[in-house]
């Protein structure tokens, strides 16, 4: 026994001392946040850019900045998913802002919350970037006092993705231009979209669209003030006829007949791509990725240059500069460079992030871009057109997402869970709205 004990203890002690040595070594790791207090341009500084998903900012691209700014080294830290990045950013902001990167990427959906704390970000207004984006891109990032807290990177202009093979089987046209025309072309409306859907489901086993919530999201994003007045005061849901109208449309019998009754991103949703579950999807530029991923072996997907009710946007990101950073001005310059049309086109080529800069839309590198999975659809041109079609900037105040969730849950109960009828679920939404205590 003595021997084994000794051996065991020796092993433990040995492991512990190696480990301590190891910590000692690792603590030399360079601090990722910016070093030095250089406010002068000449001093060498390191700027960190925190992104998520894939912004298309490769090391080579970042090195280009050092060529024109020899004193600046740019480092990128990446979070896998935007929700990881969001938790990270909110934690650091809530704890006072220490440890933030010099440039922090954010998603459009975080803005209603962040804009309330606009003092924590640098004002990015400058002549250089004047007119770089469409109004609907800059407005959500602009505080009430005119302060701009984010430079737009990519956008999510929405088109209609469709299964040409299912269309053909149901006797509908398959060519993208014809499909766009079928859905109403420039004058496309939701009614038209549902009407075509009806003719489709009459002749097909498949549903017309995947999820009523996706349709509702597309519709509500075309309202200028969905849940709140533009001064930020919430509209009582019980009196919100616009929203109730949309709700009744998507939960009504006519539209429900077209639905595949799937919750987006659920396991059943993912699986139904393989089972011809539905024929069309509202399709922001970035959605081409998930569709391709889930549709392995299916060849019928295509994209029509059309969207019901005018243009629509879903998602997209910005670069912000936290005010607490030691090199905030230098970071602002870097952010402006990263979101310039030329660089954003390069990012698009690297990662498929569709640029939000109006000038980038005419860049041949973009207009020539095709997606071979979608039957070689000219995605650059299509989404460029869809971007230009966006006329409405939906106002999203501090309570937008809380209220949106009450309606979204009600739609899920009717469409996916089938645990309540339309009226009962609406009552549930009203109760949940009241519980918000607004």
């Amino acid at each position: 026994m003595r021997k084994t004990t000794r051996k065991f203890l020796a092993a433990t002690a040995g492991v512990a001392s190696i480990a301590l040595l190891a910590t000692a070594c690792s603590s030399d790791d360079p601090k990722p946040a910016s070093t030095g207090d250089a406010t002068k341009d000449s001093k060498p500084i390191t700027l960190t850019v925190a992104t998520f998903n894939n912004f298309g900012y490769t090391d080579e691209l970042l090195a280009e900045y050092t060529k024109t700014h020899p004193n600046v080294t740019v480092k990128q830290t990446v979070a896998a998913k935007s929700e990881d990045a969001r938790t990270n950013l909110t934690t650091k902001l809530a704890a006072g802002g220490a440890g933030l990167a010099d440039v922090e990427a954010i998603e459009i959906d975080w803005l209603p919350e962040l804009i309330q704390s606009s003092d924590k970000f640098l004002d990015l207004n400058s002549d250089e970037v004047e007119g770089r984006w469409l109004e609907f891109k800059t407005k959500p990032a602009t505080a009430a006092d005119g302060k701009l807290i984010g430079y737009g990177t990519d956008v999510g202009p929405e088109a209609i993705c469709y299964r040409s093979d299912l269309f053909e089987a149901a006797g509908l046209p398959t060519d993208p231009a014809e499909v766009a025309e079928l859905l109403g072309g420039d004058g496309a409306t939701w009614d038209k979209y549902f009407e075509v859907g009806k003719t489709f489901v009459d002749k097909s086993e498949s549903a017309w669209f995947d999820s009523a919530n996706a349709i509702y999201q597309g519709m509500v994003n075309q309202l200028e003030a969905a849940y709140e007045n533009t001064d930020g005061t919430p509209i009582p849901l019980a009196e919100n006829d616009q929203v109730k109208g949309l709700y009744e449309t998507v939960t009504g019998a006519q539209v429900q007949e077209l639905s595949a009754h799937l919750g987006q991103w659920s396991e059943d949703w993912t699986a139904s791509f393989q089972k011809n579950g539905f024929a069309t999807m509202l399709c922001p530029a970035w959605m081409t990725g998930p569709i391709e991923q889930n549709s392995g072996g299916i060849t019928g997907w295509n994209i029509a240059d059309v969207f019901p009710g005018g243009g629509g946007n879903w998602g997209g990101s910005y670069l912000t500069v936290p005010a607490a950073g030691a090199n905030a001005e230098a970071a602002k310059e870097l952010a402006a460079w990263l979101t310039s049309p030329e660089i954003q086109v390069k990012a698009f080529l690297n990662a498929g992030t569709f640029p939000s800069q109006t000038e980038a839309l005419t860049d041949p590198a973009l207009t020539d871009a095709k997606n071979d999975f979608f039957n070689n659809a000219p995605v650059g041109t299509i989404f460029g057109n869809r971007y230009k079609a966006i006329k409405v900037t939906p106002f999203k105040g501090p309570n937008y997402f809380s209220i949106h969730q009450t309606v979204g849950d009600a739609i899920t109960k009717v469409d996916v869970d089938k645990s309540a009828d339309s009226a009962a679920a609406w009552q549930g939404a009203l109760d949940a709205f009241n519980a918000l205590g607004l």
């Binding site: 938790t87 909110t90 902001l93 809530a94 919350e113 962040l114 309330q116 704390s117 924590k120 919750g263 987006q264 991103w265 659920s266 396991e267 059943d268 699986a271 139904s272 089972k275 309570n399 997402f401 809380s402 969730q405 849950d409 009600a410 899920t412 109960k413 996916v416 869970d417 089938k418 645990s419 309540a420 549930g428 109760d431 519980a435 918000l436 205590g437």
Partner: protein, 345 residues
């Protein structure tokens, strides 16, 4: 001197006459050793707790009596308004129901299965290491793999379980709609991960039970089942208590599994699988970012866990001591402790 014989009380005050004087110093040292050592040994935990554990608790308490938004930070002092608000929220009560339901569905079978698996492992098996580590495998499988697998098992339409049930002509279970079904699915994920873990904890304790006790029980004519109840269980009482307490605390804090049960992480459209920790997190970290209310929920949950933990503590002690009065040979080994108020000669 025999180990069993009682130590003369307080003999250190008057050194034994035959001992040389210089022993006095080492005796003083020894007395200090005995008095101070216990505190020294438990100090790392408490020092660390006061550095990294206490501040978060006090901070949470401070936040809970203020209007406090996650990003904008501190607002007005509001007293116990946040606590009152929590009680008015339907979701809070719903979350308590779900938490208790998932807890009961997961913890009870889990502890029973763990103790049985441990009993099976505590045998003269061939390839011991393989079996022991085999039952712990689920604990190491990365959450992403577990999520992928359970997602495919429990999908409402495309899931494997419903496909199997369908093969037997049973209607598909609506895992993501029906509250009880969702609780069962979540409890299954929890049990998958923690049953083997608890089994090994029990096994470690069972290994320390003196084999003589079993031999004596066999001589007394007890079978395996009998000796399990009259020797094993009483002998590992402290460990049973440990597992029950830690499972209670862990079970009432269940967070990851309900969060990943669907892609939204909100506990379902009707909040049918919203647990209290998930509710706490979503209150502070999404929607209204109401950190003040979230902190109040945290404190209420803390109190709830303490209460249920104490009830379980009392129950377990009663059950464990009740079963120890079986016919098997009883050996009392516990409760003697080395006393810092006396020193050995």
């Amino acid at each position: 001197m025999s180990v069993q014989s009682p130590v003369e009380p307080e003999s250190d005050l008057a050194p034994a006459p035959r001992q040389p004087r210089r022993v006095g110093f080492s005796q003083t040292l020894s007395r200090w050793d005995v008095k101070v050592s216990p505190y020294l040994y438990i100090s790392p935990f408490f020092i660390l707790f006061f550095i990294t554990g206490l501040f978060p608790i006090l901070y949470t308490g401070y936040v809970s009596v203020h209007k406090w938004q996650l990003l904008q930070g501190q607002g007005d002092f509001v007293g116990f308004d946040n606590y009152v608000d929590v009680f008015k929220q339907k979701d809070f009560w719903l979350s308590l129901r779900n938490t208790l339901s998932i807890f009961v569905i997961s913890a009870v079978p889990q502890v029973i299965a763990a103790i049985l698996i441990a009993a099976f492992l505590d045998q003269n098996l061939r390839a011991k290491t393989f079996w022991r580590m085999g039952v712990l495998l689920p604990y190491v499988v990365a959450p992403v793999a577990v999520g992928l697998i359970f997602g495919r098992l429990f999908a409402d339409q495309s899931g494997l379980i419903n496909a199997w049930l369908g093969a037997f002509g049973i209607d598909p279970v609506r895992w993501h709609v029906d509250p009880l079904a969702s609780h069962i699915a979540i409890a299954t994920m929890v049990n998958f991960r923690w049953t083997g873990y608890n089994a090994l904890i029990f096994l470690a304790a069972m290994q320390a039970v003196p084999r003589e006790l079993y031999e004596a029980a066999i001589i007394d004519g007890a079978g395996r089942v009998r000796s399990f109840f009259s020797v094993t269980i009483p002998q590992i009482r402290a460990t049973v208590l440990f597992v029950v307490i830690t499972s209670t605390i862990g079970g009432l804090q269940i967070f990851d599994e309900p969060r990943v049960f669907d892609s939204a992480g909100a506990g379902g459209a009707s909040r049918q699988w919203l647990t209290t920790t998930l509710y706490l997190y979503n209150t502070g970290w999404s929607g209204q970012y109401n950190l003040g209310r979230a902190a109040a929920i945290a404190w209420l949950l803390f109190v709830l866990i303490l209460v249920i933990g104490l009830v379980n503590f009392a129950l377990t002690q009663r059950i464990a001591s009740g079963s120890s009065s079986g016919p098997g040979k009883k050996v009392k080994r516990q409760s003697k402790r080395y006393d810092s108020n006396r020193t050995s000669a």
